[in-house]
């Protein structure tokens, strides 16, 4: 095994080009588990800790460019207003120690369906900035997940950042685990209202081979809101709409039975989470003007 320690982003890209099988390691919270438990012996480890820009974020216009290694703790602390769904998801990641090290780049690189950031990224919408010595490309998040632990990156590419749309409406994230902290998702759900575009986006985790959106549910809800003029009236959401939305989310999943939970429970739980998160976001949308949204988008803690 060889440990590559590039001092700059350019060096990192060059190293990845030279050793396409090199495994990038930033927070280490996935890679080191595999090494400690002898599940993986890469020829090269590519350390990204020395590349400062990966730990930085910029808010410009209506997007946030979030460095791949910005730790979840920082997202919780500093980006709650801009990225409320991702901030909530960040808070459910493992433990404080892990949140201090891990970042979105790791979740994307590993592309496990159980990664906590995925449902929030899918719901919020955005693009993955994939870079190689050949150049930069922005991969829409919807096209990023390709299979179980497979993503759209080319072997010579590294994730530099994600470009995320600043929230224009309430967002929520909810995850079922069998413990009240430090738990891997049995399944998870992210929801974002986009009042500016009159759309709704969702994300489902741990209930299909990849993180997915529940597009039928999104379209149904957007249409229902439109038809009833609810975006403008901020009126009460009809329970039947919430129920059908929940059913459609549930139906969008394609889960399996595994040691963490059953397929049927996952479908059921996704429906409950969809209904609840819709209730929370809609109530928030009803009760607030846009500039107030930022402060109340999360429950305490």
């Amino acid at each position: 095994m060889e440990f590559l320690r590039p001092a700059s982003w350019e060096e990192a890209l060059a190293a990845k080009a030279e050793h396409p099988s090199a495994v990038p390691i930033a927070g280490g919270t996935d890679v080191m588990v595999e090494i400690n438990f002898d599940h993986r012996r890469p020829e090269h480890l590519l350390d990204l800790n020395r590349i400062a820009e990966l730990q930085e974020w910029e808010v410009a216009g209506d997007t946030v460019r979030l460095g791949a290694s910005v730790p979840y703790t920082k997202i919780m602390e500093h980006l709650r207003a801009e990225l409320p769904g991702l901030a909530l998801a960040s808070h459910t990641v493992a433990s404080p120690q892990i949140r201090n090290r891990g970042g979105v780049g790791g979740n994307l690189g590993t592309a496990s369906p159980a990664g906590d950031a995925h449902p929030a990224l899918l719901a919020g919408g955005g693009e993955v900035e994939a870079v190689s010595v050949r150049g930069t490309r922005l991969i829409p998040i919807d096209d990023f997940y390709k299979g179980v632990k497979r993503n759209a990156l080319e072997p010579d590419e590294l994730i530099r950042a994600v470009h995320l749309k600043k929230a224009t409406g309430p967002q929520q994230f909810s995850k079922v685990g069998t413990r009240n902290a430090m738990v891997i998702a049995v399944c998870a759900f992210g929801l974002a209202l986009h009042p500016d575009a009159r759309t709704v986006r969702t994300g489902i985790g741990s209930a299909a081979p990849t993180p997915i959106r529940a597009t039928t549910a999104e379209e149904f809800l957007a249409a229902a809101l439109d038809e009833a003029g609810l975006w403008e009236s901020r009126g009460v959401l009809p329970p039947a709409v919430a129920r059908q939305f929940a059913d459609l989310v549930s139906g969008a999943a394609n889960p399996i039975d595994d040691v963490r939970g059953t397929a049927s429970y996952r479908r059921h739980a996704l429906g409950v989470m969809a209904r609840r998160t819709l209730g929370w976001t809609w109530e928030q949308y009803r009760g607030t003007e846009q500039d107030e949204l930022d402060d109340r988008s999360k429950p305490c803690a």
Partner: protein, 158 residues
């Protein structure tokens, strides 16, 4: 490979480090600092918690090579120079928060950082800050007592 970094204020160096070694292994087996504990080696117990450039992390999930040139504080660095226990260490002893003690070093590092950040934590804050540290002996009640005690003593001392 060779790895050089600062541990508890003193420069340390390790040679012939295998590239897959964790910071935890280097501390325990190469630097004579076995205080950080090896309970799970998968980031699910917190017993190996150290501060890396001030931030609490699981040292089992930090590759040794990633620590080059950085600062690490372990449980061995909590006591004063004369060996006097820190407030949080003394509180753990006094409150009966230590049984087998294997989780204790990680809890101390995490609790110490919590009190530095939040000198008057609520019980909810304490529980959240320590939710990455498993203890199998105590049922956590005495650990909560200890952190409350350390906070109260720090408050008194101010």
């Amino acid at each position: 490979m060779r790895v050089t970094f600062t541990v508890n204020g003193a420069p340390q160096e390790a040679d012939d480090v295998w590239e897959g070694e964790s910071l935890l292994y280097v501390l325990r087996e190469r630097m004579g600092l076995p205080g950080s504990k090896n309970a799970c080696e998968q980031g699910e117990c917190g017993s190996c918690t150290v501060r890396l450039d001030g931030v609490p992390v699981c040292s089992c999930l930090v590759a040794a090579g990633q620590v080059q040139g950085r600062e690490v504080v372990t449980v061995e660095g909590l006591a004063g120079e004369g060996g006097e226990l820190s407030t949080v260490q003394q509180a753990f002893v006094d409150a009966g928060a230590v049984q087998c003690g294997f989780c204790t070093p990680g809890l101390l590092v995490a609790a110490d950082e919590l009190l530095e950040r939040n000198p008057e934590p609520s019980d909810g804050d304490i529980r959240e800050a320590l939710s990455g540290n498993l203890c199998r002996c105590t049922g956590y009640e005495k650990i909560l007592d200890a952190v409350r005690l350390a906070a109260a003593r720090t408050e008194e001392a101010v």
